[in-house]
Every structure is written in C-alpha cells, then in structure tokens.
C-alpha cells in the first residue's frame, strides 16, 4: 500500500456533517467512485481513512486533508473527477496525491471569520477589536475534554487581522494553533463577547482557508 492524501472542500450543505459522519460519507464516496483503497483486515474490514485536523461541525473549509492508502503506486487516472461525481453536495475534492509529509507536521490552521450585524455595526468595530487583541493578555475560559481553565489565548494565535466588509459585515483572518495545542477560532468570538459586551453579533461563520506547518509554510 501507498500513502496518499486528498485535499477537499467542505462547504454549503456539507458544513453540518460532523467529523465522524464525514469520515463515513467519504468512505462511501470512495466505494462509489471505485478508488483502489486499502481496507483494514480482520474482524470488520473497512476502508482506512484518517483526517488529521477534524473540522468543527458547522464550520466550512476549503482546505481539508484526508489520509488513506492506495493499493496502486500512483494516483489512478480521473481519481479526482470520479470522486467528485460520487460526493454529497458541498464536498469537493481539489486534489489527490501521494503523501510525502506526515500529518502530524500540521501545526496551524488559518480561518476566515465572518461576522453579521443585522442592524449595522459599530463604526469603531475594527479598531476596538484590534486594540483588544493588541493587549498582552486576552484571557478566556477554554474547555478541553477533561477540564475548563482560563488561558491567555494570545499564546495560541500566530496572526489575527480584522477588516470591514460593509455596513453589516466584518471579517477576521486568524491563524491559530492546530492539533496539540489547539485553539478553535470560536475563542476569538468568545473573547470579543467577554471584553466588549456592547458588541452583539447576529451571526458568526467560520471558514478554514489553509493549514501550515510549524514554520508557517503551507502544508500539503
């Protein structure tokens, strides 16, 4: 078997598919597309796939990576097109290639956050939030599987920029730690809600745009 990787988008209706369900949906899509993929052996044989950085349910992404093993040494012809004919709406394969780097080298995710203000936003919104994150410490209660604790989320943010889109919309571009440690971009929103309670969002949408290694080089 030969290590392979699939780069795909998860958008539109597919945003709401949970991580585990998404794995199953892709396994079935691979079966429909007829890709020569390695199955686990033994009691309950199934197509082996792995997603290194699971995406939160409800987030969209244009940069999801899924690892699996081909039975063939090279990527079969038309693999991308065959997959795209077999996927549910909102999932779209961009590329399939033989994997060179290890999934655990993924260290950062870049997200775009879109904020809706149905009744128009504070004209100082960008300045206020920029000032907030220019402080040395932005402390938010962070939940892990085992505990809840207050952390300075700035330690997990590599880059954060806000900008206006129009009267009712603003955007944030953020690069946060991914894997271990991990910071969900939702904590940016939580910090704003905590420190700037006068700001009320009517909608917040999270979209992953890229994944980087420890040197902030695009991971493929």
């Amino acid at each position: 078997m030969y290590k392979a990787r699939m780069l795909f988008k998860k958008e539109g209706r597919a945003k709401y598919i949970s991580h585990l369900d998404n794995m199953q949906a892709i396994q079935r899509s691979i079966a429909r597309a007829g890709l020569p993929i390695w199955h686990t052996e033994g009691f309950n044989p199934h197509a082996y796939i792995s997603i290194g950085l699971p995406l939160s349910t409800g987030f969209s992404s244009e940069y999801e990576l899924l690892d699996f093993n081909f039975l063939t040494e090279i990527v079969p012809e038309n693999a991308v097109a065959d997959m795209n004919a077999a996927l549910p709406s909102g999932l779209e394969v961009v590329d399939i290639y033989m994997a060179e780097r290890k999934a655990k080298e993924m260290k950062f995710s870049q997200y775009q956050i879109t904020y809706d203000f149905d009744n128009g936003k504070d004209s100082d919104f960008v300045k206020k939030v920029t000032d907030l994150f220019n402080q040395d410490e932005v402390v938010v209660v962070k939940r892990t599987k085992r505990s809840e604790k207050e952390v300075n989320i700035k330690e997990f943010i590599a880059k954060l920029e806000f900008c206006d889109i129009d009267e009712n919309t603003a955007k944030a571009t953020v690069i946060t730690c991914a894997g271990d440690p991990n910071l969900s971009p939702e904590y940016i929103t939580k910090a704003i809600e905590k420190y700037l309670p006068e700001i009320k969002f009517d909608g917040a949408y999270y979209h992953r745009t890229c994944v980087f290694d420890k040197d902030l080089v695009i991971f493929r």
Partner: protein, 616 residues
C-alpha cells in the same frame, strides 16, 4: 442540478442544534429539480426524526417513484427534534423541504407516512410549523392536500379531521394515478371537492370526509354512512408482479448516521405465517415474491450507487423466502470481494441452518435475534407462532457452535389468555439458552450475552386479536414486576418496554373519529413525539380525554363484541373479518393454523391476485 444554499436564518440556527446534518439535506442521491419544469411539488413527510424516517424503505421507494415522474418534484420533511423546533419557532423559520429549503406551505401535496400510532401529534406539529391549517375543512383549495398511507392507515379514523385522502395498501401504482389526477385538477383549476370526488374512483383511495359514522348509545359504531358517489367499502391496493414493479436503482445515502443505515432490497411482500397478533402479517397479504434474478440485479445497482458496506434482504420473514440459499450464494459472490456484508433480519428459529449462518457471517458478524414472542408452548399456540422450544434451542446451538455469543430474544407481554406461568416460561427459555451455550459455545472464555426484551401486546385492527381486551396499565406493571423478579438470571439482560405508551398506542390503534378532538387537544397542550419516552406526557393525554369527554378505556379495556361493527370495517385489507373471527376462536382453544404455503386457510386475500390463487 446545483444545490441551493440554505436560507441564512436556517444557517444561523443549525450550529446550535444537535446533529444539524439532519436538517441540511444535500445527501448523495437526493433529488433536486428545476422548479420551472415541474407542475407538482410534493413533500414526503415523515412524522418522526430523520434517523427513524430515513430508515424506512417504503418511503425511500416512494420518494424515488414520485421523482421518476418528470412533472413532480418530491422533497422530504421530518419532525424536527425539540431543540430544533424551539430554534425554528424562536426565529420564525417554517418547516421546510430539506431539498429546496422552501416552507412546506409552498407545496401542493403533503404525503405523510403512518408507521406508528404515536406519531399522530407530530403530523399536527409539522403542519403547524409550516403554517398549514391543521383541519382538512380549513384547507379549502387544492394546495396542501394532505395524503396519508402506511400500516396504521388501515384504521385512520382517529386522524380523519386532519387528512384529506388515505391510501390503502401498496403505493407504487395508486400514487401515480393520484398524481396524474392531481396534475389535471391543478391545470384545470378544479375545486377541492370536485377533485376529491374523482379521487374516490381510484381503487384504494379513501376520502374520509365523504363518510359519516353513526354511533350506538354505548359508543360503539352503528354504521358508516357514505355519500352516493363514494364506495361503501374500499379495497386496499396491491401490486401484482413485484419483478416488474418500480424499484429505485438509487437510494439517498444519508450524510449522518440513521437507525438502519444500509442498502435494502425487498425479498417478498406478505407473510405465509399468520401469527395472530401481527397486523403486517394479516394486512400485507397475499404473499408475492421477487425472483432471485431481480433481487440480485437490484442489489448490485443499489450497492454500486450507494457505496453502502451492508445490504439487507428485508421482508416480514426472510428465512421463509423459497430461493434464499441460492440468492445468498449469488449475493455473497458479488458482495464478499467488495467487503459488503449481508444482513438477514427477520430470521425464524425453525429454519435457521448452519448453512444460512455461515452466509450471514461471511464479511462481518453482527448480533442474532429470534422472536419466540411467548414463553410457553400453550401461549405460542394461542398466537399461532408455530415455534417450538426445540427449534429455538437448536437454532441457538448452531449459532453458539458457529462462534456467536450474543443472542437477542423478543417476547410480548399481555397476550390474550396469558398467565404468570407463561411469563415464567420466558425465564425458563432464557435459562435453557444459556445452558445451550455452556454445552456448545465455541469460545467459552468470551462469555455469553442473552438479551431478553419484552414489549407490551397491543391488539391491532385487521388481526384475529382485534376483538381482545388489552392488558391494562396496572396489569402490565404487575406483569413487569413479576418479570423483573424471575428474570434475574446470570448472563441474561432483561429489557422491557414502557406500558404507558403501549396503552396510548392501543387507544389509537382501534380508535374512532371521537379521538380526533383528543389528539387536537393533546397537541394544544404540547404533546409531540409521544413514541419517545422522554417526550411522552401521559398526564396531558389524560387531561385531554377528560376535557373531550372521551373515555380511553373504551378502546382498550373491554372485550369488543363479536358482532360489533368496527370503525375500520369499511377498509378492506383482503383478509376477511370472518376468517379473523375463525382464527380468534381457534386461538382460544390453542389450535394452530398451518402456514399458508402448506395449507390454504381461505383468508380471502387470494381474491386480490388476478388469477385468483396465491403463488406459494
């Protein structure tokens, strides 16, 4: 066809609810059409959660059938779970078809499937969430035509205020006739009344508003009056030839886990057995099989188009299929190299063989379930189960030798003539199954798990037990307490089903039109998802009965008169009332009736077959 984004309001609430994929649509093989090119918009509405609704093969067949007509676009709607309903109501979001995202108020036909009596309040809630008037009399145009069908449609009387048309029997042919008529009516702008009068002429179609019940002083039905143009009785529809019948070559593959998440082919319809408690066994007659060639072809198409890793051969009693061995061999030749496993639900203990066992465990080994239904031979004879203790123990012996160590046994409690001795028989059987494992278990180190589940018997219309008193809640609680005592057995887990919901199920199963008001009242009081223990509110239901002046015990806690006219007598399943009565008498003497492949019992359903005799 590009799938349109959901409305922003919907997008905002979905991240807040449990399992949002249930409400997002976009699944593989879901059908999207161009609105400008269709004449009829239909909703297939399943009054339960997505996971339950999507598991129902019949609805998946009819979704495919409706959409095979180029002038129809059929979408789906499910009952939103309580968290989603709260978000929808708080944000002014109507119930929507999950394909288009459009409110169900935009649709011409709202087709509800009736799988279970306790889903009735969900129908009201779904209409209400779509802003569609609940009462048929308040929907005065062709739009929002509420159509129902499915197993509980054989007695739809408790919900006749809310529905316009009831389809009796198999939908494959009559649905198309109905849609064609609707198409003409819509083009020519008929009145609703004119349309419904024409609907009466389609075989199997029941339009309740043209029928008026007249009651005796004691509350029983005296007669069912009908308009001159409406037939006095309605005969359910069947499809003659299952090999040429419509069957989809694609099934929607849900993007989230559902109850039965696998491909399914339907091996045969009907059942030869005649278990006296079983509504499906009496109302789905006569038996008609698909050929192994057809099944193999359909199974291959489904596996290829779905990517499913499991396919089930479904029917009421799959091990009774005459060509099962040959079919399994052909299926396994195809499935095994693809790592697709074969599921055979509904196996009977009396024809479970080593050969069959080896086939079902070829790819993956799952649990094994048998349903003796009653603990003593006497009671099994009363219900005509025709399973002997030796059958069950030898089936378990085969399974244990084959390496299984997980067996589930299903029983019913509260069957007619049942005593505590019969219940003790359940415990005895469970012990004997464990002993069997001690003697023949292939892997003793792994231990054995025998799970015994009891449900509460509910007398159903159209069965030989339709005259019987249902065990009261107090009696069932007593029986359950007895069972909890006697079922303390090593290696045996005991599960039981709640008696309260069975009581309500019994009321609606044999209910009449007086219950319409009760359902409306209970819905006003907040009853929905009554089949779910965490949502079921017995106190609200009892208040509703009280306020409507309806005594629920009238429908369950009495023996019905043998000459009583039933509210469902005008809806014919093919199995004659005289046959059911004869079977009832035999049951009281614990006389069994052989399966109809061995000897015809003259139930009457052979008259539905064009040649006048069954193919068994």
């Amino acid at each position: 066809m590009k799938v349109k984004e959901l409305d922003k309001k919907i997008q905002r609430i979905l991240p807040k609810v449990q399992k949002p994929a249930r409400y997002a649509g976009g699944e593989y093989n879901a059908v999207y059409k161009d609105l400008d090119k269709v004449e009829i918009r239909a909703i297939f509405a399943l009054p339960d959660t997505y996971e339950v609704g999507m598991s129902h093969l019949g609805s998946r067949i009819l979704y495919g059938l409706y959409n095979s007509l180029d002038y129809v676009w059929c979408e789906r709607a499910f009952a939103p779970w309580i968290d989603m309903e709260a978000e929808m109501r708080a944000n002014d979001i109507p119930l929507y078809g999950i394909e288009s995202g459009d409110s169900i108020a935009e649709f011409d036909i709202l087709a509800f499937t009736l799988q279970y009596e306790l889903s009735y309040t969900n129908i009201l809630n779904m209409l209400n969430l779509g802003g569609v008037p609940l009462l048929a009399s308040e929907r005065d145009t062709l739009k929002h035509m509420v159509v129902v069908g499915g197993p509980t449609a054989y007695n739809p009387e408790p919900i006749t205020d809310f529905v316009d048309v009831v389809m009796l029997g198999e939908g494959e042919e009559m649905s198309v006739e109905f849609l064609e008529l609707y198409r003409v009516a819509k083009r020519e702008n008929w009145t609703k009344d004119a349309f419904l009068r024409e609907v009466c002429k389609i075989g199997g179609m029941y339009v309740p508003k043209f029928y008026t019940p007249v009651y005796n002083e004691d509350g029983t039905l005296k007669e069912m009056l009908h308009e001159d143009f409406a037939p006095a009785t309605i005969q359910k529809r069947i499809v003659q030839d299952l090999d040429t019948m419509y069957f989809p070559d694609k099934l929607i593959v849900p993007s989230t886990d559902i109850v039965f998440d696998r491909a399914m082919v339907e091996v045969f319809r009907g059942c030869t057995r005649g278990c006296r408690f079983c509504q499906a066994g009496h109302t789905y007659r006569p038996v008609r099989e698909k050929s192994p060639e057809t099944l193999l072809k359909q199974a291959k198409a489904l596996i290829e188009s779905s990517g499913y890793e499991e396919i089930s051969l479904s029917s009421l009693s799959t091990s009774d299929y005459r060509h099962l061995e040959a079919l399994c061999d052909d299926m396994l030749d195809y499935c095994t190299p693809k790592n697709v496993s074969l599921a055979l639900p509904s196996l009977r203990a009396d024809n479970f063989s080593v050969d069959l066992m080896e086939k079902v465990q070829k790819v993956r080994k799952s649990g094994l379930t048998f349903a003796p239904e009653a603990g003593s031979q006497r009671l099994r004879d009363v219900i005509n189960k025709n399973i002997f203790e030796d059958d069950l123990l030898s089936a378990c012996d085969i399974a244990f030798r084959g390496g299984w160590n997980n067996i589930k046994l299903y029983f019913m409690m509260g069957l007619p003539t049942e005593t505590n001795e019969d219940l003790d028989g359940i415990a005895d059987l469970a012990k004997k199954v464990v002993w069997t494992w001690r003697n023949s278990g292939a892997n003793r180190q792994r231990g054995v798990r025998v799970t015994v589940s009891t449900s509460c018997f509910v007398p159903k219309p159209g069965t030989p037990f339709q005259w019987d008193k249902q065990a009261t809640r107090e009696e069932l609680v007593e029986k359950q307490n007895h069972m909890k005592e006697v079922m303390r057995i090593k290696n045996v887990n005991y599960n039981w089903h709640d008696a309260q919901t069975s009581f309500m199920e019994g009321v609606f199963a044999r209910g009449d039109r007086k219950l319409n008001a009760v359902i409306a009242k209970a819905y006003e009081k907040g009853c929905t998802f009554d089949g779910w223990d965490i949502c079921f509110k017995l106190d609200k239901w009892m208040e509703s009965f009280e306020e409507c002046g309806v005594d629920p015990n009238f429908y369950v806690a009495r023996d019905f008169g043998l000459d009583e006219v039933f509210p469902w007598d005008h809806l014919l399943t093919g199995t004659k009332k005289s046959h059911l009565l004869k079977e009832r008498e035999r049951s009281r003497q614990a006389i069994t009736t052989p399966e109809c492949s061995k000897q015809c019992a003259n139930c009457g359903s052979s008259e539905l077959i064009l040649e006048g005799h069954c193919h068994v």
